[in-house]
Symmetry: C2
Subunit: 133 residues, 2 copies
DNA sequence: TATAGTAGGTACCTAGAGGAAAGTAACTAC
DNA sequence: GTAGTTACTTTCCTCTAGGTACCTACTATA
């Protein structure tokens, strides 16, 4: 948070070091835990904090809070606070977040057709490594 | 979207921990430094180690080696070793890696149309946070 | 009094990713 | 015999993301 002097697009353009126009998107959309969160909100609709916490079992509340804040700041998730007792907070996908749906579908499609190729390549690589010694 | 009984959503149901069928793909394709490497190989063709090292300026040789090994193991990159003196190694995108091209294009397209929305959302969020105290 | 439910905040600590810099092999050129 | 080249490898070190555990406020319930 301390060193955000410029946005992600500026990084891609002004930073010749990256030489990769998709890096900024990757940082926003595919940073840790964000894809399960976005997928969950996209698939199961508006949810409360505990619902997300239970669905994504291995996430801790601290990290879930951090990721949700980040996604809210990036405009991908909308947070609605109801000042009741006990307090109730609901999270849902924003319009901008929903625009990622075809991208996620594309990714899922690639997974179904190519993930086994990756696994086969891994087995092949590991086996060859064993015989090579 | 919520009630997809077949396809990738079904995986989400059977694996309660992840609750996200695209997580494995993200780990493979979008782990750190992989997208600049794949982009570079995809855009500029077959390249030697030092060429990649110079193009992706901020990467260290150790990490570049690690990432290239991982990508080779996953079958996304093909490594060709020429036992000359000094040694020459060439890296190129594999068939499987090339199948990611439309996905990357999709991502780049999303970036061009929506990245500014993200930045505007960030500014809005930060400004509101300041006024809130 | 104590406990549960709710959405976090905060302090502390660890593991692991990643960076810096030097080393290695193998041969050539000088 | 020393420097140069390439593609790493190794060692050491730092930094931070993330985990654990406890804390907040408020009310209902036993």
């Amino acid at each position: 948070m301390a060193t955000e002097t410029s946005g992600p697009a500026a990084d891609a353009m002004t930073d010749p070091e990256l030489a990769c126009p998709i890096s900024p998107v990757v940082d926003i959309v595919f940073s840790r835990w964000t894809s399960p969160i976005l997928w969950s909100l996209q698939t199961f609709g508006r949810q409360r904090f505990v619902e997300l916490e239970r669905r994504i079992k291995s996430i801790t509340p601290k990290v879930l809070t951090q990721r949700l804040r980040q996604l809210e700041r990036d405009g991908l998730v909308v947070r609605t606070y109801h000042p009741e007792v006990p307090p109730r907070v609901e999270y849902e996908i924003s319009e901008l977040g929903r625009s990622l749906a075809p991208l996620f579908a594309h990714l899922a499609e690639w997974a179904t057709t190519n993930l086994e190729h990756v696994e086969r390549a891994r087995r092949h690589y590991d086996d060859a490594g064993v015989t090579r010694g």
